[in-house]
């Protein structure tokens, strides 16, 4: 048994109840399992990417109770009782979410490895700031790393998604 087990009352495993992409789930995991490993290895939701494993790059971002969280740097048991959304839960009935659609149309990704995190980050941003100004977009997007695009097209995608969600089609 690892030292970490002490964090969960001396148990080596714990049972989590969470809402994952809208569905209630009860999952038993080793206490030392990270949230990212739970999603990727146990649940095969591999759209959550692992880049730096240090909570820096943001490729592993999921929305936990609507807030972007670096799942590589939290334990799976911290998801107990939470509403968790991953990239796999965004498109509904085969229809892309407006943020996904904007990323496609603005060319806001290349290798695609940061894209899940960037899209979820954008979704959270637009829920808090439906019509963000450029400074707000830059501040939020600066919490994740994209090594390919140089960010201009990501910023354009955020602006387009904001306009779409607000009902104003961007020209």
């Amino acid at each position: 048994m690892s030292d970490d087990a002490a964090l969960v009352n001396g148990q080596s495993e714990c049972a989590l109840r969470l809402t994952l992409n809208g569905a209630e789930r009860t999952i038993t995991v080793p206490v030392e399992r990270t949230a990212a490993d739970l999603l990727r290895d146990d649940l095969r939701l591999t759209g959550t990417r692992i880049g730096c494993s240090r909570g820096v790059c943001g490729a592993c971002v999921a929305l936990v109770d609507g807030v972007p969280a670096a799942t590589c740097s939290m334990f799976a048991f911290q998801l107990d009782g939470c509403d968790v959304q991953t990239i796999e839960g965004l498109a509904q009935e085969g229809k892309l979410h407006p943020v996904q659609q904007a990323f496609v149309e603005q060319g806001a990704f290349q290798c695609g490895y940061c894209t899940s995190g960037m899209i979820l980050l954008t979704k959270a941003l637009l829920e808090q700031h439906p019509r963000p100004d450029r400074a707000t977009i830059t501040e939020w997007i600066s919490s994740n790393v994209c090594r390919c695009t140089g960010y201009a097209q990501i910023i354009a995608a955020v602006e387009q998604a904001a306009a779409r969600l607000a009902g104003e089609e961007k020209t």
């Binding site: 990727r40 939701l45 591999t46 759209g47 959550t48 990417r49 692992i50 880049g51 730096c52 494993s53 240090r54 820096v56 790059c57 490729a59 991953t86 990239i87 796999e88 965004l90 498109a91 892309l96 996904q100 990323f103 496609v104 149309e105 603005q106 060319g107 990704f109 290349q110 290798c111 695609g112 490895y113 940061c114 894209t115 899940s116 899209i119 977009i137 830059t138 501040e139 997007i141 600066s142 790393v145 090594r147 390919c148 695009t149 140089g150 960010y151 201009a152 097209q153 990501i154 910023i155 354009a156 602006e159 961007k170 020209t171």
Partner: protein, 784 residues
């Protein structure tokens, strides 16, 4: 849909700013349009599969022990306790590598061991590898490995490595080869201690210096970045009997196959390399990285083995080349350039990797795009006790553009000539050979320079010297010879009974948009919509051979092979249809997914099934392209295309703090023809921002004892959205002189090249001081 971002301006040669799609020849239906990427749906829904996502039944996990010593002889390794850890299947040290395996890899020089054999040469060198049921078990085992070392003197940087009393990294010269060269170029292996490769180029007469009015000697220092691809180095190997399958995050699967075959004594036709989507590479993912360890452990355990590095390990696996560049340049008083002698010292790190090739290219590119009477270059590849350097976007051109375009500016100011006028006077003209025996420059360099000058307002700039914050502007033209050296490309295009198109080639989708752009070229030639073309997954058993996804060769080199394959299959279909319809094939063409006879469409399927039977048929053609060799071309063959990056910057410099603020950054490349303007802009943006980061802050900080100080993702600073200049503009030129399909050239590296020098030149313009060392930190500005 608008393909234009807010800060993006399009530019054609005539400067009218018309939209590219609208101005594309009316005959073009698919090329020149910003079609959504073919991989878009997978990448925005998370379903795109990368090598990190590959899981095989019974798969073990590898981890390695890395040296904390920069240079030491291994005295003993005790793995006894490690072997007892539950879940551990195999522990491998240098002594455990089976005798029949050749344990070294490298490009020109085979010097890097799979696992250290008797000494370690840098902090991060692999000492011991473990395969276990989980990564955690492997790490637990590695903690129990006991190693004793005898420390050796450390060559922590270029100057230490070249000192007379430096300790040699290699006691004997490793096996290596030197390419054949043409007029003026030569190279040798290990010309002196701790130099693994030297490239020389010379043309014209050295007496030219004696005729110059002035000779200026300047030295420049170039920093070192790590690629920071977000998908780690990762592979999964599955060795079964005499055959193996390897899934790898890799830019060049066929050369990887060849290297693994050589090392593990397995025929190439018993090795299958699969490459799923690659989560960024920027040059790092060429040749063996994790694959030798995963293959070795799979061979020894009989189980599939996954080896995935952490980002910290990635920092220690491959980097850009730090450099010292010394330029001696002779000019006339009126600004005419005459002669340049240069010595370039590249820091190769502890193993040669791609360094000899980078050495060749840096040595070749140092003259810049100017007319010279005499060029004399020596470029040395120096081995140090630091992480191995290798291919990095720009590939030596970033180093040379930094030094050359800084010195051109310095000389202009010393002579009292405007840096713009100095460049305009000396730039090569469209069609001029770069050097004797080379191909002609395929862009109008002056046109591009005028474009970025106009965008930044260079000629209207004013200098207010009253306050402590000063404003200035700088310009630069970086370049590289693009498309690789004499690089062959092969492609296959097939068309099914129902007219569905299969494109098969080895270009890896690494983010650059190869699947989309190469499919657009195919669709255009075959007269079908883009969604009729599929792009085959990368599997070395089925695809035509390819040397690798590098050197901006996708469009300009592979694109030409695809063009030929698509033309070939089109001709087959038209000849077949002509025979079925009883007409001459010249009366037919492909369009709207059918065979057109005048205005009458003839669907393909009924004709095929009538002739070949109801089960159908496939038309198939191969295409091949390789630049013809020429012994007068210095590098075996004339360059396929010239990749050029024009840059302009406007900066504010605070003379009290040394802080530099980039107000406006303009970067421009010439695509020849943009196959997909939106994707192209993304490439040019990304390269420019990488250049911006290198200019101002991003660098690996080594102490002089071979220790990387900022060796983790938090302290190694990469650019974020907040680092973008207030005004950031990339301009896509389509001058139309490219050798590729529809006049295209390669792209994706050009705009990293001019940025650092444009910013240094702007700082000089603002405050009259010259920064010759990257990155340009406030401290260095204050000290200058």
């Amino acid at each position: 849909m608008s393909p234009q971002g807010p800060a993006h301006k399009r530019q054609l040669g005539d400067e009218t700013g018309r939209d590219l799609a609208a101005t594309a020849s009316p005959a073009l239906q698919v090329v020149g349009r910003s079609a959504p990427r073919k991989d878009a749906l997978e990448k925005v829904t998370g379903s795109a599969q990368y090598t990190t996502d590959i899981v095989l039944p019974g798969m073990l996990h590898a981890k390695v022990l890395r040296s904390a010593r920069a240079h030491a002889r291994i005295e003993s390794i005790d793995t006894g306790a490690a072997r007892q850890v539950p879940g551990v299947h195999r522990v491998v040290t240098g002594a455990d590598i089976p005798q029949h395996i050749v344990p070294f890899y490298g490009y020109f020089i085979k010097d890097q061991p799979i696992v250290a054999l008797n000494k370690v040469r840098y902090v991060g060198d692999i000492v011991c590898a473990v395969a276990a049921e989980t990564e955690a078990a492997a790490i637990a085992a590695l903690r129990l490995v006991q190693v004793t070392y005898e420390d050796l003197p450390v060559a922590g940087d270029i100057e230490q490595a070249l000192a007379d009393d430096a300790c040699a990294l290699f006691d004997e010269a490793p096996m290596g080869v030197v390419p054949t060269y043409g007029d003026g170029a030569s190279a040798q292996l290990r010309p002196r201690k701790n130099v693994c490769f030297q490239f020389n180029y010379r043309t014209g007469d050295a007496t030219a210096f004696a005729r110059c009015d002035h000779v200026f000697e300047d030295e420049f220092r170039f920093s070192r970045m790590t690629h920071y691809h977000l998908e780690p180095f990762v592979s999964v190997a599955d060795v079964r009997g005499d055959a193996m399958q390897v899934w790898a995050s890799c830019q060049n699967p066929f050369p990887l196959r060849k290297e693994l075959a050589r090392m593990f004594k397995v025929p190439e036709n018993r090795i299958t390399v699969h490459v799923p989507y690659v989560g960024g590479g920027f040059g790092a993912k060429n040749n063996v990285k994790t694959e030798a360890v995963s293959v070795l452990l799979s061979m020894l355990t009989g189980r599939p083995v996954r080896f995935c590095l952490t980002m910290e390990e990635g920092f220690l696996t491959n980097t850009q080349h730090a450099a010292i560049l010394r330029l001696k340049t002779g000019v006339m008083a009126d600004g005419r350039l005459v002669a340049r002698q240069s010595e370039i010292l590249l820091d190769a790190g502890a193993y040669s990797d791609g360094s000899p090739l980078v050495t060749e290219k840096a040595g070749y590119r140092i003259p810049g795009l100017y007319r010279w009477e005499h060029i004399d270059t020596a470029c040395l590849c120096v081995m140090t006790n630091t992480a191995p350097a290798g291919p990095f976007r720009g590939f030596g051109g970033t180093q040379t553009s930094w030094a050359s375009e800084s010195q051109i500016d310095m000389i202009a100011r010393r002579l009292g000539i405007d840096p713009y006028a100095m460049r305009m006077r000396n730039l090569l003209k469209l069609g001029d050979p770069f050097v004797p025996g080379e191909s002609g420059i395929d862009s109008d360099l002056r046109e591009g320079l005028d474009l970025v000058c106009k965008e930044v307002g260079y000629h209207q700039r004013t200098h207010d010297t009253s306050g402590t914050v000063r404003r200035g502007m700088g310009i630069s033209i970086g370049f590289k010879d693009g498309g690789g050296v004499s690089k062959p490309a092969q492609a296959r295009v097939k068309v099914s009974t129902s007219g569905d198109v299969f494109l098969q080639c080895g270009t890896v989708e690494i983010g650059q948009g190869a699947r989309t752009a190469l499919s657009q070229i195919t669709a255009e030639i075959l007269g079908v919509p883009l969604d009729k073309v599929s792009y085959a997954p990368i599997n070395t058993d089925y695809l035509p051979f390819d040397q690798g996804t590098n050197a901006s060769s996708g469009i300009a080199v592979m694109g030409q092979a695809i063009e030929r394959a698509a033309n070939g299959v089109r001709d087959q279909i038209l000849a077949f249809a002509a025979s079925q319809l009883g007409v001459d094939s010249s009366a037919l063409q492909l369009g709207n997914g059918a065979v057109l006879q005048g205005g009458t469409p003839h669907p393909l399927a009924p004709m095929v099934m009538r002739h070949y039977g109801g089960t159908g048929f496939e038309f198939s053609a191969d295409g091949f392209f390789k630049a013809a060799g020429d012994r007068h071309a210095p590098l075996e063959a004339p360059c396929v295309f010239w990749e050029i990056g024009w840059g302009a910057a406007e900066v504010l410099v605070d003379t009290a703090t040394g802080k530099v603020t980039v107000l406006k950054l303009v970067a421009s490349g010439d695509a020849g023809r943009a196959i997909n303007p939106l994707m192209l802009k993304g490439q040019e943006d990304g390269a420019a921002v990488m250049g911006l980061a290198q200019a101002l802050f991003e660098h690996m900080i080594y102490d002089n004892q071979g220790r990387l100080i900022n060796a983790d993702p938090l302290t190694y600073r990469v650019p974020l959205a907040e680092d973008l200049p207030l005004d950031f503009v990339t301009i896509t030129q389509e001058q139309g002189h490219g050798p590729g399909p529809f006049g295209a050239k390669g792209a994706g590296e050009g705009t990293i090249l001019p940025i650092a020098s444009a910013i240094a030149n702007a700082i000089h313009d603002a405050v009259g001081v010259r920064i010759t060392r990257l990155p340009i930190t406030p401290v260095r500005v204050l000290e200058a």
